[in-house]
Symmetry: C2
Subunit: 191 residues, 2 copies
Amino acid sequence: MAPALPPLTVPALALPGWVRGWLARRAGSPLRGDDARMALVIGLAAENARRGSGGPFGAAVFERRSGRLVAAGVNCVTASGLSWAHAEMVAIALAQRARGGYDLGARGLPAHELVTSSEPCAMCFGATPWSGVARLVCGARAADAEAIGFDEGPKPRGWVRALAARGIEVVRDVRRAEAVAALRSYGGPIY
Amino acid sequence: MAPALPPLTVPALALPGWVRGWLARRAGSPLRGDDARMALVIGLAAENARRGSGGPFGAAVFERRSGRLVAAGVNCVTASGLSWAHAEMVAIALAQRARGGYDLGARGLPAHELVTSSEPCAMCFGATPWSGVARLVCGARAADAEAIGFDEGPKPRGWVRALAARGIEVVRDVRRAEAVAALRSYGGPIY
């Protein structure tokens, strides 16, 4: 018998079923300002925890100036069986799908920003420049996620400066207390 | 008119069509040792460049001890329109699909290793601990990829030690000259 070939297709990754209705009720109009955008992604994080559909992390890509929601993501690691499926990575991939290409900073597109309920881990930090976003807005700090047991990985100490040097503005501690409350609401597995 | 909802599904990501036949001809038996495994992923990198199906990068996940190929990946960024689709990320996702879960280091599984034709970028470095692999084998250095114009991102200076501290052994410069030749064979877009 010939040995089986390894798999050749990464399966599609769907957001949890509740996201459609949740977004339809909340995300109809553009969201002005960091606070309103952060409230949305903290809501996604808390709902993902409450529903048991993944880790307590939410993220979204917005058009920076208009505040139009381009894509939203939640942590889908356990449901998808894929370790890359952090909220930020899912939001970026969905935004790239919405925009039809791998570079959200491409000529002819409006500037995009990534808003995340919790500071990106080492992987999502490394993915940020490749995504083409021009700005990164964070709620909770890595230390807050680590305080509930999540590992944020070996991010360079000067990560904010490293993104700034690449033209990506970083804003931290937006609604941090609420973002921390969403983290603390989580009772599922740590991975 | 109600505003359109953002996309809710990241589409499936298929390896380029040539990979099936290429692997079927080469990957039937377990590959013993780093040199043989590296030769396979350099072949994937060179073929991806030659066919114009993506960047000159190949990677694979093997069972460390048996040398059985679990999954192979090539860079699919331009074809997929997804900035996360680096060869290492694709190989890890396919290996997790093959193993049925997000942790290749889970109890009951054999140890896995990631073999990559070129040292991981900042994103793939950050993704390595989350994947569950126990070992990382690299061909070309980041500086080699940067010499042909690719950006490897802000990886921590002590990245090898950082992985070692997490129990992930790193081996570098395996068939480096051949890996560099594969990089140099590339004539496609830089992104």
